[in-house]
Structure formats: structure tokens, C-alpha cells
């Protein structure tokens, strides 16, 4: 390596190291959180060890019962047991009560008799095989639940009951909203960018600044604005009533329309700016060339201008789609319960329900889905490949 190259590496290193430490490592931690299963090992370490050694047939031997009884008893009122009961209750309802009742019971050996006397579930193989799975340290449960699947008592993968199957629908809804927003934004932006590219100097600069203003204004401010605008007695309804377009206020806020409107507003500059960049580079003499060859303006647009401007559309579209897939604040504030996207659930599981495994699993799947769609688009549309390479 030459001296210059060594220097180049040294100059890039600090930034690269910071990105790795602050973003790449956390992402890996996040992926790990989706499959980690530490609660049983932390709360009942000896029981976990014995369970791992057990062959998983029927119910285990007395030593496992004894270890569980003693460790649960010792852990009563401790954080670790709380975490374990949340973890097991997530897999099967009622486990929390079972653990607490067991922790409080006065037990005497032999525990393989005493525990089933406290609760019949301690005599069932299904309870023990579930505990054994929870002792392994890694679990597919969160990822499975994120696609509405579950682990049955015998360890096989089954579909979730209909009343709890929500996530496939949620991912589909997220994808649909992201695509609707992307397409709407591109359709709105294209003629606007086209007009901007042909404006005379000073006007073009003014228009550019007007596009840049919302781009610089905080997304929170813009969402607040929409929250106020779309209220039942807000400015939009007031205007519609005054113009006698409607005779009673429309339900605007907490609807899908509100979500799409506000998201398009936030994302429009991301479409207009790259389109503008590409359109400005299209040689205006091409129009004359087409005309001299006998093409109408419309034919020129379809055959020459549109294909040449597509890279800008593609770049903007990809960016918008990626951003839209991860939108949280806009649907959360102006959407109804039926308009929430995956991000809402990631936030909810982290900050309210305290289920980090589910939050991480949903994040992993969202990232995978976004990457898959973007990758597919880049593969299928050669122009995009040239652009992103």
C-alpha cells in the first residue's frame, strides 16, 4: 500500500469506526435480540441446565422438579422471575399465574408429586417441553409470531388462531401504504419537476427554495400542521363548508386518506429534487431534433424525454419507498387504529408492552422486506442499477 493509500485509510477510519460502533453493532444486537431467549437461564439457571440435559420425553425426573421448585421459590419477588413470567406468558397464557402460585406454595419433597398438586399443569409434558425450549438460549418464537405462526406443544410450527393473527395483515398494510404513497408522490412530483426544469432562472430558484423549505422543516412540525388542519373543526373542513363543497364536516383525521396526504407532503421533496436534477441535464436541443424529424411534442415526450428522465424517477421512488416503509410518526398521529404501520408496533413493543423480542423480530422482518423490494426493483429495472452502482 502506498503512503497516500495508507493516509486515505487513516482519514476514513474514524468515521467508519463510529458508524460501525453506533449503527452496525446496534443493528447486530437488534438482530440477536430477535432470537435471544435468556430469561429462563437467568431466573432459574440450574433448572435450565438440567432441562437441556433432559431427553424431552414425557415429564422429567425428580431432580428437575426439585431444582425448579427451589429456584422459583428463591426467586420470588425478584426482577428475573418477573421477566421469566412475562416471557412464558407470551408463549402461553396463564403461565404467569402458574409461576407465581408455585413460588408462593409451601412444597416438600418429592417435588414430582408436590408440584402437580399445586397445579395440574406441572404434570403435563407440554409444560415441560415448553420450558425445555425456553432453556436453549435461542428461540424462533418471536420471528414466528411476527408472521402469525406459533410453536405447538410438540415443537411443530403451526398457524396462530385467527383472533391473534395480525402481523401478516400488518406487513401487507405497511407495504400497500408505502406503495400507494410512493406512486402518488411520483405522479404528483413528475409534472411539477418538469415545469420547474423549464422555468426561467429566478423563478426556478424561487421554486427550488419553496421545495426545500418543507424539506428542512422538522417532520414533527409538519405532522402537527396536518393534525390541526384535518380536525373535524379544523381549517380544511372550515374551507370545504364555506365553499359549500360539503354540508357537514368530513371525517378527515384518523383516516387512511389523512395518512397518505401527510406522508406525500413529507416525501414530495425527495421526489422533486432528484427528478429536477436529471431533467435539467436533458439537452433542450433534443426537442428540436425530434421536431425536425417530424415527431409531435407528445411523441417527443414519450419516446425521448420520459426515458431520459426515468433515472430521476427511479432514484426518487426508491428513496421514498424506503422512507415510507419505516414511517412512524405520521400514521401514529393522523391515522386511525386501522392505519398503523409496522413501526407503530415496534415502538409499542419497546416503549409500552416491554417485549423486546417482538420489537426486534418485527424490525428484522421490516428491514428484510424493504431490502427485498428495493433489491427486486434494482434487479428488474436496469436503469436503476446503472444509477445506484
Amino acid at each position: 500500500m502506498t503512503r497516500t493509500k495508507a493516509l486515505a485509510v487513516a482519514l476514513m477510519a474514524p468515521a467508519v469506526v463510529v458508524v460501525i460502533l453506533v449503527l452496525v453493532v446496534p443493528l447486530l444486537v437488534g438482530f440477536a435480540t430477535a432470537v435471544r431467549d435468556p430469561e429462563l437461564r437467568v431466573a432459574l439457571p440450574r433448572t435450565a441446565e438440567l432441562l437441556r440435559a433432559w431427553d424431552g420425553r414425557g415429564v422429567p425426573e425428580e431432580p428437575v422438579f426439585a431444582a425448579l421448585a427451589q429456584e422459583v421459590r428463591a426467586a420470588e419477588g425478584a426482577q428475573a422471575l418477573g421477566a421469566l413470567s412475562r416471557r412464558l406468558n407470551f408463549e402461553r397464557s396463564g403461565m404467569r399465574g402458574l409461576l407465581l402460585r408455585t413460588a408462593r406454595a409451601e412444597l416438600v419433597a418429592p417435588y414430582s408429586m408436590a408440584l402437580p398438586a399445586v397445579d395440574a399443569r406441572w404434570g403435563e409434558p407440554a409444560t415441560w417441553t415448553m420450558l425445555r425450549r425456553a432453556s436453549l438460549g435461542v428461540t424462533p418464537l418471536y420471528l414466528l409470531r411476527s408472521v402469525d405462526l406459533d410453536v405447538a406443544a410438540d415443537g411443530s410450527v403451526v398457524a396462530q388462531p385467527e383472533e391473534e393473527a395480525v402481523f401478516v395483515k400488518l406487513f401487507r398494510r405497511t407495504l400497500v401504504i408505502a406503495l400507494e404513497v410512493t406512486i402518488t408522490t411520483l405522479l404528483v412530483a413528475y409534472p411539477a419537476a418538469y415545469a420547474m426544469a423549464r422555468l426561467p432562472g429566478a423563478w426556478a430558484r424561487l421554486a427550488t427554495v419553496l421545495v426545500l423549505v418543507p424539506f428542512w422543516v422538522s417532520i414533527m412540525v409538519r405532522t402537527t400542521a396536518w393534525f390541526i388542519l384535518l380536525q373535524r373543526e379544523g381549517p380544511v373542513n372550515a374551507l370545504l363548508l364555506a365553499l359549500q363543497v360539503v354540508d357537514h364536516p368530513l371525517q378527515l383525521i384518523f383516516t387512511r386518506v389523512a395518512v397518505i396526504l401527510a406522508m406525500v407532503h413529507v416525501l414530495l421533496p425527495f421526489a422533486i429534487l432528484p427528478m429536477l436534477g436529471v431533467m435539467k441535464r436533458i439537452d433542450p436541443r433534443l426537442a428540436r431534433a425530434s421536431a425536425s424529424l417530424g415527431a409531435t411534442q407528445w411523441q417527443h415526450f414519450l419516446r425521448v424525454y420520459l426515458p431520459l428522465s426515468l433515472p430521476g424517477v427511479g432514484a426518487g421512488g426508491l428513496m421514498i419507498f424506503m422512507l415510507a416503509m419505516g414511517f412512524y410518526i405520521t400514521p401514529a398521529l393522523v391515522g386511525g387504529t386501522g392505519d398503523q404501520m409496522v413501526s407503530t408496533f415496534i415502538t409499542e413493543y419497546t416503549t409500552a408492552t416491554l417485549n423486546w423480542g417482538m420489537a426486534a423480530a418485527l424490525a428484522v422482518l421490516l428491514l428484510a422486506m424493504t431490502a427485498a423490494v428495493v433489491g427486486l426493483a434494482v434487479l428488474l429495472v436496469p436503469r436503476l442499477r446503472a444509477r445506484t452502482a
Binding site: 419477588g77 418477573g82 397464557s93 408496533f345
Partner: protein
């Protein structure tokens, strides 16, 4: 030059990191906000600060346990005393989220029946009732059964985003008499019945999460009817809003003061809780806000009751007492089902 600047930046960064987790900090009390907390700040938090010399700060949350559990887990406890609803308190006590209270510091005999549990000392009674703006709707629903009649009473309805209270309300709307609500809700069929009843009006529901929201929703006309904290509704009505206080739609319970496990100010926090449940500061508070304390001497004081007709304690016999035992037993499972139901 660059090296020096880099060094400077690194120093600033480490300085920031080191300065961040301050060990000696003020007592932090966290509650549900609103008018109660504004008045509690004056009479209870600052009253204690004046009496003891300790500095007391306060903040607001919406009752979600995640924040508290994660600070206990991370051993970075920044809240000391928290106002908690009963089932969450009992569950958090079992899970090691809250400290067992020190009954040598806090006088256990001053509370009404049920006013104390291992990890909590009764703070105030709270309740929710149905309300609407009579300036917009002259004659609204008077019961939950009527609230479910979307033909006769069109418009959005707002409920708190939680199964607790919402499922009870759904059953009452479906015709279950209020003394049978928990018996029915303890069965799978009863739970199905509650969710089926909610399904009938699902399209008209707007959920609220913080106590200020139902008032804003009704005041701005965003929703026609809301079930909100009665203390705030009564205060708004007292200040001129045309909100009827429909006491037969009351569901009520106690909030408790609790100490977050691992708080560096545990001893001071116990003293603060004892002060906040003493009759004298509560009587002073009752001058400004219609509280229903769990402290016997104040709760039974006829003068306080007469001055504050909106006290929850005055209407206990017509309302439904939210069952702590029920929600300790079924809360986690019903929350799971409720969240899944709401997401569909």
C-alpha cells in the same frame, strides 16, 4: 491542530458521558398529570420540600410499566415515587419492579380499607365516566347501553386504549348488570361477548392514551362522546364546559404511591409518601381540587365531602368498583387479546 481538535472533541464527549448519570439527584415523583398533579405539586410535593428541605421534581407518564421496568433492569433508576394503578402495582410488586414499603416510616393505620398493599400506599380515588358537550348534543346517551346505539347517537366515541374499563363497559352496554360484570368477564364466553360488543362500534371508536385527550377530543368536536377521567371532566364542567356528570356510568378505583425498586432515594421516598398521605396536606389540597384520598381522616371528613360533590367517594354506591384481583389475574392475557383485537 487537527489532532488537538480531535482530542478536544474526544474530551468533550467523555465529559458528557461521565456527567450524564448523576448519582445525587432530586427526588422525582411521576404521576398522571392534569389538574390533580398541578395541585399536588403545590400542596404535596413542594409541601414536603418545604418541610424536609429535600428538592422534589415531578413528571408525567401514562401508566405504562415498560419505562419503569427497563430502568430497574438497567439499574439506572431516574424515578423515585410513582403513582400507579392497582393491578399494575400488584403485578409490579410480584415482579420486583417496586420496593416493599416501609410501614415503620409510613403509618399504615391512617388508610381506609384496601388503602394499602405491600408495595403501595393509597393516594387518591379515580374514576371514569361518560361525558359529552351539551352545547353540541342536547340530549345524549345516559348509559353505556345507549352509547352503543349508534343510530340514535351518531358520531365517534372515545375510550382509553386499554382492556381495563373498556371490557367492563362493553359488557354493561351488552346488558350485564354491574355486579355480575367480573363474574362474566372471568369466563372465555364472557370475554368473547365483550369483544363482540366492541366489534359492533369498532368503526366509531377513537382511542385515547393520556388523560388530556378525551377533553380535547370532545372540546374540539373531534368525537361526540368520551369516557374520561371524571376529575378532569368535573373541573372542566366547573369552569364552564357543558359536560354532564353521569355518575351511573362511573367506574372507579384507587391510585397508589409506590417506590421504584433500586431507587437511590428509597429512604427519602418513604418519608415523602408518608407526608403525602397525611391529613393536613391533603386537606389543604382538597381546598383546590376535588380529591378522594385513601386517608381515612380526609375521606370521611363531611366538610370535604360537602365541598367536593365531584369526589369519587360520594358516588361509589352507583358506580362499578374496578376489581384489582380480576385484573391481576387476567390483565396480561386480556391485554394481549385486546392489542391483537385493536390491530385487526
Amino acid at each position: 491542530m487537527f489532532a488537538r481538535r480531535l482530542l478536544c472533541s474526544a474530551l468533550i464527549a467523555t465529559g458528557l458521558a461521565a456527567a450524564a448519570p448523576a448519582d445525587a439527584r432530586d427526588l422525582m415523583v411521576v404521576g398522571f398529570g392534569g389538574g390533580f398533579q398541578d395541585n399536588a405539586r403545590k400542596h404535596l410535593f413542594q409541601g414536603y420540600a418545604r418541610a424536609s428541605g429535600a428538592a422534589v421534581k415531578d413528571d408525567v407518564y401514562n401508566g405504562e410499566m415498560a419505562k419503569i421496568v427497563s430502568m430497574v433492569k438497567a439499574r439506572d433508576v431516574t424515578w423515585d415515587v410513582v403513582m400507579v394503578e392497582a393491578p399494575e402495582l400488584v403485578r409490579g410488586c410480584e415482579d420486583g419492579t417496586f420496593e416493599k414499603l416501609n410501614w415503620n416510616v409510613i403509618d399504615r393505620n391512617k388508610f381506609v380499607g384496601g388503602g394499602t398493599v405491600a408495595c403501595g400506599a393509597g393516594a387518591v380515588g379515580w374514576g371514569v365516566t361518560l361525558f359529552y358537550d351539551q352545547k353540541r348534543i342536547a340530549d345524549g346517551p345516559k348509559s353505556y347501553a345507549e352509547l352503543w346505539d349508534t343510530k340514535k347517537f351518531p358520531g365517534k366515541r372515545s375510550f382509553r386504549y386499554t382492556p381495563k374499563t373498556t371490557l367492563e363497559i362493553a359488557l354493561m352496554a351488552d346488558g350485564v348488570p354491574f355486579h355480575d360484570v367480573y363474574k362474566v368477564l372471568a369466563t372465555k364466553a364472557g370475554q368473547d361477548r365483550a369483544f363482540t360488543a366492541l366489534d359492533r362500534i369498532k368503526g366509531d371508536i377513537v382511542w385515547w392514551r393520556s388523560g388530556a385527550q378525551p377533553l380535547q377530543f370532545v372540546a374540539s368536536g373531534e368525537v361526540a362522546y368520551a369516557v374520561g377521567f371524571v376529575g378532569r371532566t368535573a373541573r372542566a364542567a366547573g369552569e364552564g364546559a357543558a359536560y354532564p356528570l353521569l355518575w351511573p356510568t362511573l367506574l372507579y378505583s384507587f391510585d397508589y404511591w409506590a417506590v421504584v425498586k433500586g431507587s437511590p432515594n428509597t429512604a427519602e421516598a418513604m418519608k415523602l409518601i408518608n407526608y403525602m398521605t397525611e391529613p393536613a396536606p391533603l386537606l389543604a389540597l382538597a381546598q383546590d381540587w376535588a380529591v378522594s384520598p385513601a386517608t381515612k381522616a380526609v375521606a370521611d371528613d363531611p366538610a370535604v365531602r360537602a365541598r367536593n360533590p365531584g369526589m369519587v367517594a360520594n358516588h361509589a354506591e352507583v358506580g362499578l368498583s374496578i376489581s384489582t384481583e380480576f385484573w391481576v389475574e387476567y390483565g396480561e392475557d386480556l391485554e394481549k387479546r385486546f392489542n391483537a383485537w385493536a390491530a385487526r
